[in-house]
Each structure stands twice: as structure tokens, then as C-alpha cells.
């Protein structure tokens, strides 16, 4: 429950291991931008293979890498979870995630039956290994915080998405009966997007919004019951999908709950005690705004139906929501952890947060991010903006990658060339 050693760094993997997850995620982001450019504006008429290739680069290469890196660092800190031999485990997971994803992308584009089994084993196995390690530790903690319960549910949600993904890969490869292919695909997406990405963000925000911006607490009713309610609705939705019953009511409820959550988060940020309005506050505001837009479009689609352009807008607003929060977290935790790990190790000249990544650089990234989103918005209606929008994806991830590498160099430089105080 309680850890020995301040921010529990003894149980967390070394900072450079966590940074490697973030650098991997950002590199996959660059690959995403390059792939978008390579596919050209045919994206709107692309085949299923291209669609799932792009979705998996984003969902696993970018999002899962960011989130596992963050979880490895944050679980000991905000949930009091102890992971033994964290470096070994983290490196194995990163290796499986990377090789598994590359194999999966090759599988989608080559359609070789054996590769489906190999990628199911490597990627599915690697990701399940990661979620199982974390779930097993999380269920054991005695005093759960509002965040830790939600993190546990998000990890269970991701495990279900992975299991469904393994089934999909094996049925596409012809190894198992494909009777439930369509239902499994829908459940796979709903657990991956809402049961993992969105639920994890919701759960973590209950702790970090208050911690980083000194805001009033979320209402207990919301922080205690929202994650469980969302998760239960997703389970119910899956049951309905497999029973071929309409999921409209559940979808509507999910959308309304996410809108309520985003509204409360925006209100918390408005009521924050700290006067600073750095880029990370804006990333959070933007993220919550985009979540509201996504859910309104989702509501419209489930009730009156929307056209292809609006559907496209709802996809990229959801991606924009998730990436905004990830970027907000990166610009807070990377400078903080660089300073914190180094000063804890006794380096007197440990760089201060602003020397690692200056808030101005985060502000620049916010401008790049907003431009990227606006261009994708325009692309939904005018395809001539496609190339520019894809280029902006490369610039956005390139900007973050540069600063992550800079942080890593600063960390290494301090360790090698400055004095250390022994205690």
C-alpha cells in the first residue's frame, strides 16, 4: 500500500526505460503521418486493410506505448502498486509490443495465414502479459484510490479488447471458426476505444487534474462510480452485440456520461487555484471539448444518423481528444520526472523543469496540434487539404520526439558530467 522511498522510485523502472516507451510511441506517430502521406487522399475510399493498418499504428503503436510507459511510472506513485523487476518486465513488454505490431502490420498487408498466428502470439501475448502484471498487482491493494479502481477496470477493458483481437486475428487467419467475426470486431473496438483509452484517461484524470492544477475535487459520486458504470455499460453493450440486439440505448447512455465527465473536468479546470494557464491546461481543455464534440456526433449518429463526413469528423475528434490528453501529460511528467529522478539520485545540478522542456515549447506544440486538427476538419469536407493535414501529423510527433530526445540527452549529460552528492 505504502512504498518506501518518496515517490516510490525503487519500484518504478528507471526513467530512461519509461522514456523509451514514450519515444517508441512518438516514432510510431511519425510512421502514422508518413503512412497517411503514402496512402494519399484516397484515404476516404481506402480498403479495409489500409484502414486497420492505420488504426493499429495509432491505437497500439502510439496510444498503448504512451499509456504503458505512463502506467509503469504512475502505478507505484498514484496507486501504491509494487512491480518487481520493473526494468526487465518493461523492456520485454516494449520488445513484444514493437515486434508484435510490426508483424501485425505485415500480416494485414500480406495476408499470409501463418503471420496471423505469429502476430496473435507476439502482440496479443505481449499486451496480455503487460495487462496481467498490472491487474494482478492492482487487485491486491487494500486502500484503493478513485484512480486505482478505474485503472484496474481500464486494464480489464483492454484485456478484453486484446482477447477479442486475438480471436479476430486467428479467425482471419483461418485458425478458428469466424462465425462471430462481425460481433467480435464491434466489441473489440468498443472496449479498445471506450473501455481502455477513454476509461484510463477518465480514471487518471480524477487524480492528476487535481494534482497538477490544484482544482476542487471531483464529486465523490462521479469519481467513485463513473468508471464502474462505464465499464458495466460496455459489458452490457457486448452482450447485446452478441445477442444481435440494438445497442442504441446503451450507446446513448455512454455518450451522455462521457459528456457529463468532460463538463465536470472543464469546470474543475475553470475553478483551479493556480493562476498559470500553461499549454497543458489548454491541452486538457481542448481534449475535453473534443470529447464532448465526439460524443454529440456519436449521439446524433445513433439517433438520427450522420453522413460519411460527420462520421469522419467524429473519428478524428476522438483521436484529437486522446492525443491532447497524452500531450498534456507528456509536457508535465517528462520534465518533472527528469528533474525528480536526478535530484533524488543526488545530482546537485539536476536541471529544473523549465530547462528540460520549456513551457514555451509546449505552447508551440499546442499551436501545431490545433492546426493539425483544424486541417483534418477541413479535409473531412475538402480533400485538397489532405497532404497538408498529413504533413502536420509528422510535424506534431516530430516536435514531441525532438523534445523527448532532448530530455533524454539532458538526463544522460547530467549523470555523466555533473557532481553527485552521496548520502
Amino acid at each position: 500500500m505504502f512504498n518506501q522511498g518518496g515517490l516510490s522510485l525503487e519500484q518504478a523502472p528507471p526513467f530512461l526505460v519509461v522514456l523509451r516507451f514514450f519515444i517508441t510511441a512518438t516514432t510510431f506517430g511519425l510512421l502514422l503521418g508518413i503512412s497517411l502521406l503514402a496512402y494519399g487522399s484516397e484515404l476516404f475510399y481506402i480498403d479495409y486493410t489500409t484502414q486497420i493498418t492505420l488504426i493499429h499504428i495509432l491505437a497500439i503503436g502510439v496510444m498503448a506505448s504512451f499509456m504503458f510507459g505512463a502506467l509503469f511510472q504512475m502505478l507505484p506513485v498514484i496507486a501504491g502498486v509494487v512491480i518487481q523487476t520493473p526494468t526487465k518486465k518493461a523492456m520485454l513488454i516494449l520488445a513484444l509490443l514493437t515486434t508484435g505490431l510490426i508483424t501485425q502490420l505485415l500480416t494485414f498487408n500480406s495476408n499470409i495465414s501463418l503471420l496471423y498466428a505469429v502476430s496473435a502470439f507476439l502482440l496479443g501475448g505481449g499486451l496480455l502479459h503487460a495487462t496481467t502484471i498490472m491487474i494482478r498487482r492492482l487487485v491486491k491493494i487494500a486502500d484503493h484510490s478513485t484512480s486505482s479502481k478505474g485503472m484496474l477496470l481500464a486494464l480489464i477493458g483492454f484485456s478484453l479488447a486484446i482477447l477479442l483481437g486475438i480471436y479476430l486475428l486467428l479467425s482471419l487467419g483461418g485458425y478458428v471458426d469466424a462465425t462471430f467475426l462481425i460481433q467480435a470486431k464491434e466489441a473489440h473496438y468498443s472496449f479498445a476505444l471506450f473501455g481502455w483509452v477513454a476509461l484510463l484517461i477518465v480514471s487518471i484524470s480524477f487524480q492528476v487534474v487535481e494534482m497538477f492544477y490544484v482544482t476542487p475535487k471531483y464529486p465523490t459520486l462521479l469519481s467513485n462510480y463513473l468508471p464502474l458504470t462505464l465499464f458495466s455499460l460496455l459489458v452490457l453493450k457486448t452482450v447485446l452485440i452478441f445477442s444481435s440486439i440494438n445497442t442504441q440505448m446503451v450507446d446513448g447512455l455512454l455518450a451522455i456520461l462521457f459528456i457529463i465527465y468532460a463538463g465536470f473536468t472543464l469546470h474543475r479546470l475553470y475553478k483551479r487555484k493556480r493562476p498559470t494557464s500553461d499549454a497543458t491546461v489548454w491541452f486538457w481543455r481542448l481534449g475535453m471539448g473534443l470529447l464532448i464534440i465526439t460524443m454529440l456526433l456519436f449521439l446524433a449518429d445513433t439517433t438520427v444518423g450522420t453522413d460519411a463526413s460527420l462520421k469522419f469528423v467524429s473519428y478524428f475528434t476522438f483521436i484529437g481528444f486522446a492525443l491532447s490528453i497524452v500531450f498534456a501529460m507528456m509536457y508535465k511528467i517528462v520534465p518533472f520526472l527528469t528533474w525528480f529522478h536526478l535530484s533524488n539520485q543526488g545530482y546537485i545540478e539536476a536541471p529544473m523543469m523549465h530547462e528540460v522542456i520549456h513551457p514555451k515549447k509546449a505552447k508551440n506544440h499546442f499551436a501545431i496540434h490545433v492546426t493539425t486538427l483544424l486541417l483534418w476538419g477541413l479535409t473531412a469536407f475538402f480533400s485538397q487539404f489532405y497532404i497538408l493535414a498529413s504533413l502536420m501529423v509528422i510535424i506534431s510527433f516530430g516536435w514531441l520526439l525532438y523534445h523527448l530526445i532532448y530530455a533524454m540527452k539532458k538526463y544522460n549529460h547530467t549523470q555523466k558530467h555533473t557532481k553527485k552528492m552521496e548520502w
Binding site: 518506501q4 518518496g6 515517490l7 506513485v77 486502500d143 484510490s145 493556480r274 493562476p275 523543469m353 523549465h354
Partner: protein, 146 residues
């Protein structure tokens, strides 16, 4: 929950003073910032003293454990004390960027520390300590000064 309530209120008071100082630094009013920073530092250090001299020893005596949560909390107090010194220097030298950078670290450090205390340590104290010991500890803490 008298321990939790009292200590949580002290955390909130420190947060207010911290935010006031940061605002003055952003506005460039270092005379005001210096006064407010002194109040923040004084309030924070007094709070630490109450914990280290009264609450923690009582908890350790009851649990027979000096190597558990209280050790972690004492260690984190030292980290905060170190940062307070650097922040005082930057206010004195009117260095806006340096102050804001240190303030950012301080805020994350303090908030995660407060969360651990509020969600776990104080809750444990309220749960485990008999009512009379809680009341006695509280009245001892109330008169502790820096």
C-alpha cells in the same frame, strides 16, 4: 475523521498561499510575492512539524512501525524543504522563470504527497487511533509552532 479533516484543511490553506505567491510572481510584484512566500513556507513547515513531532510518533507507537508510511512521509518532507530553500532564493533574486519552474516541481511533489497522506495515512490514523488519543494528538498539534 477529526485527524483527516484538520490536516486536510491545513493542506488546502497551504495551497491557497502557494497560489497567491505564484500569482504575484506572474504579475511581477515581488514585494508582495516575498511576503506571501514567507507565509506559505511558514505554514508548510509548521504543518510538517506537527506531523513529525506529534502525529507520526503517535502512529508509530500504535503500529510499532517506524519504517513504513511515516518514513516515506519524512523523506518527502526533506525533499520539500530542499525546494523551499531554492524557491526563497529565486523570489529574493526576482527570477520569474526560475521561480515558476521550481513552483511547478513543488506543486507536483506536494500534491502527490498530500494525496498519499489524505487517502492513506490520515485515513489509517482515524481508523486505528482510539478517540481519546485522536483528540489528544489533535490538541497537541494545534499548539505547535515553528
Amino acid at each position: 475523521m477529526i485527524i483527516s479533516e484538520y490536516m486536510r484543511n491545513e493542506h488546502r490553506e497551504c495551497d491557497e498561499l502557494f497560489a497567491d505567491t505564484e500569482k504575484s510572481v506572474i504579475d511581477g510584484d515581488f514585494t508582495k510575492a516575498e511576503e506571501q512566500f514567507l507565509l506559505f513556507a511558514d505554514k508548510t513547515l509548521t504543518h510538517f512539524k506537527k506531523e513529525e513531532e506529534s502525529l507520526f510518533p503517535t502512529f508509530e507507537e500504535l503500529t510499532g512501525n517506524t519504517e513504513g508510511p511515516t518514513r516515506v512521509m519524512r523523506f518527502e518532507h526533506e525533499q520539500v524543504r530542499g525546494l523551499l530553500g531554492k524557491m526563497a532564493e529565486s523570489v529574493e533574486n526576482k527570477e520569474t522563470d526560475a521561480y515558476l519552474s521550481l513552483a511547478e516541481s513543488m506543486m507536483i511533489l506536494l500534491q502527490q504527497h498530500n494525496m498519499k497522506e489524505e487517502q492513506m495515512l490520515y485515513a489509517m490514523c482515524d481508523r486505528m487511533m482510539p478517540q481519546e488519543i485522536k483528540e489528544k494528538t489533535l490538541s497537541t498539534m494545534k499548539v505547535i509552532e515553528l
